[in-house]
């Protein structure tokens, strides 16, 4: 527990400073420590927590906004065709980390990033890497549905058009909308504005737009935070289906959602120095039932954050 990193060995790198702080935290709330062994103990050993096919490899990533450090020393491997959830209290850097995976943070002036991220072994950072290529391979769905003020058809076709798609555009649009479980609802109104759809439909349209450029990884930044429970349910079902074809990384502030949809969960936390670090990473069922770290447990049992 307090003395170990994750059980699959070195996936979650925890530096000494963190370990020290964690010891202190654990010492302060010893009740958490006594509490843990009773939690889902039966399941722990049955779970095989290994990553066989790494799609995204995050290696010691840190990020500064100007002089302010936002995240530090984050390392984790994402399994292909799985859903990986990033959870943690607000300000822990989970969205920042997510946006490192398609180099979206660089749109903000004054951002500096260290470390390396690889997709299929190919590095995303380096002087000869084009962030535009990276973003084509690593698509993104945002917190607030953000369709372009264009027709539904053009929303989906946009990325394919600019990226020189040579195939049949109508087919691509239909297939993407089908994959996003939106086709049946909009097939008769493809020429109408994407803004005319409901919030949940807009978000599925954004998913279709992301799929249309055939990414390998799809990042989702709290994709349901602006939606009602029914629309949320649909998106969650959709994510499960999409995981067959894509690797999905989702940021969520909603722990139930992480527990419902994800295969693996990473818990991030920013402590007194306000720098976000990875605390624990593992299979979702294991992390939620028998976390290794007392801070993880405090968070998932609602003791803070």
């Amino acid at each position: 527990m307090a003395d170990s990193t994750n059980s699959n060995g070195g996936v979650a790198v925890v530096d000494e400073q963190v370990a020290d702080e964690r010891d202190a935290a654990v010492g302060a709330s010893s009740s958490g420590r006594d509490f843990r062994p009773t939690l889902g103990a039966a399941q722990i050993d049955q779970q095989e927590d290994t990553i066989e096919d790494v799609a995204v490899q995050i290696d010691d990533v840190g990020l500064w906004y100007g002089a302010k450090k936002a995240i530090e020393g984050v390392s984790l491997d994402v399994q292909r065709h799985e859903i990986t959830a990033l959870i943690g209290p607000s300000g822990c850097g989970k969205s920042t980390l997510l946006r490192c995976i398609n180099r979206m943070n660089e749109l903000i002036p004054g951002v500096r990033i260290e470390g390396q991220i690889r997709v299929d072994g190919d590095p995303l950072y380096g002087s000869d890497v084009d962030p535009v290529e990276v973003r084509r391979a690593v698509g993104m769905v945002f917190q607030k549905p953000n369709p372009f003020p264009k027709s539904i058809y053009e929303n989906v076709a946009f990325g394919a058009r600019i990226n020189g798609y040579k195939g049949n555009m109508d087919e691509l649009v239909e297939r993407s909308l089908r994959q996003a479980a939106l086709w049946d609802e909009v097939k008769d109104q493809l020429k109408e504005s994407g803004l005319a759809l409901s919030g949940g439909q807009q978000q599925r349209l954004c998913i279709a737009r992301a799929i249309a450029v055939q990414p390998e990884v799809i990042l989702m930044d709290e994709p349901c935070s602006a939606l009602d429970p029914i629309a949320t349910q649909r998106i969650e079902d959709l994510m499960q289906e999409l995981a067959a074809d894509y690797t999905i990384v989702i940021v969520t502030h909603n722990m139930q959602q992480a527990a419902r949809v994800s295969n693996r969960t990473a818990f991030m936390l920013a402590e007194e120095d306000l720098v976000g670090r990875l605390v624990e990473y593992g299979r979702t069922d294991q992390l939620f039932t028998s976390p290794n770290d007392s801070r993880t447990e405090d968070y998932i049992t609602g003791r803070f954050g």
Binding site: E133, N163, Y165, K166, R175, Q179, A244, D245
Partner: protein
């Protein structure tokens, strides 16, 4: 869901061609930068040209001589002082009326159709060509009638003829929409909590406005008013309309005197075919621009010093 694994089959159909797309982007950024520089370069050329044309007549005595048939004896005295007189009275008229109107619209006016009409009317007035204000000034102040209803004479007043006051009143109406809108912005920027605090200790509406809201908004109002006045000081057409003269050999002694102003004197010189007079026009422009840029500098200073409406 269809299990045809589309990702694998269609990924090859993209001809991404990023090198070309990036090149287009770089070219476009260059063109956009060029477009940005056009205005700046022309401004620089204009200032340099005016300076080169006008420098040899530029001496302190230029402001101490009246116009003359001979370029080397001609001066800017009547125009310079005429402009100051006109702008002074324009400020005296436009400032209280403009601020009063803004206070009414922001602090007093009910949210109804009349108020909306007032507001729409003000923004439309801002788009009326200045020469139309000249026609208004000509009829209303110089001739004393707008064609319908009683004339100023019928009301027991005298018309203002081609006086400083007629010019100031015309320019005041011209810049009023600008002063009102700028003052409204400044009043809007005053947090409501200040008003509530004042009402909370039993102040009346006017006491609240006078003692708390207006002082807070004052720098912003001043900035907007000065910028509006610096527009007025460069106005030519409306003053030509009301009959300001271009050859005046005296400075105004009271607001009902005849007058000329700097832009009209510049115009008078610029249309003369002799090169010397065109250079005199440039000298006049230098003086006008110095006055104008000083006013802008004061406005910018006020904006920074007191943090009025944020500079966008």
């Amino acid at each position: 869901m269809t299990a045809e694994a589309p990702a694998a089959t269609t990924r090859d159909l993209f001809e991404v061609n990023l090198a070309r797309r990036h090149m287009i982007g770089v070219i476009f950024q260059g063109v956009a930068l060029l477009g940005t520089l056009v205005g700046i370069i022309v401004l620089a050329v204009l200032l340099i040209e005016v300076w080169r044309d006008g420098i040899h007549f530029l001496e302190l005595d230029f402001l101490n001589r009246f116009p003359s048939r001979f370029a080397e004896q001609a001066g800017f005295k009547s125009a310079f002082w005429g402009s100051l007189w006109v702008i002074g009275f324009t400020a005296l008229l436009a400032f209280p009326i403009g601020v009063g109107a803004a206070v009414y619209l922001e602090e007093y006016a009910p949210k109804n159709a009349v108020t909306r009409l007032l507001q729409t009317n003000i923004s439309n007035l801002a788009g009326v060509p200045s020469i139309v204000y000249g026609i208004l000034g000509l009829q209303l102040f110089v001739r004393g009638t707008i064609g319908i209803g009683p004339s100023l004479e019928d009301l027991g007043l005298r018309d203002l003829d081609r006086s400083v006051l007629a010019g100031s009143a015309t320019l005041a109406l011209l810049i009023l929409p600008v002063v009102i809108v700028a003052s409204q912005e400044a009043l809007k920027a005053v947090p409501p909590s200040i008003r509530e605090a004042s009402y909370g200790v039993g102040a009346t509406r006017w006491q609240t406005v006078r003692s708390h809201v207006l002082p807070q908004a004052f720098p912003g109002i001043m900035t907007g008013t000065i910028l509006a006045l610096s527009r007025a000081i460069g106005e030519t057409a409306p003053l030509i309309m009301i009959g300001a003269l271009s050859f005046v050999a005296f400075t105004p002694g009271n607001p009902l005197d005849d007058f000329t102003v700097m832009p009209i004197q510049i115009f008078g010189w610029a249309v003369r075919p002799q090169l010397d007079f065109q250079d005199l026009a440039a000298t006049g422009i230098i003086v006008l621009l110095i006055v104008l840029l000083s006013m802008n500098a004061i406005a910018v200073y006020l904006r920074h010093r007191f943090g009025g409406p944020a500079s966008r």
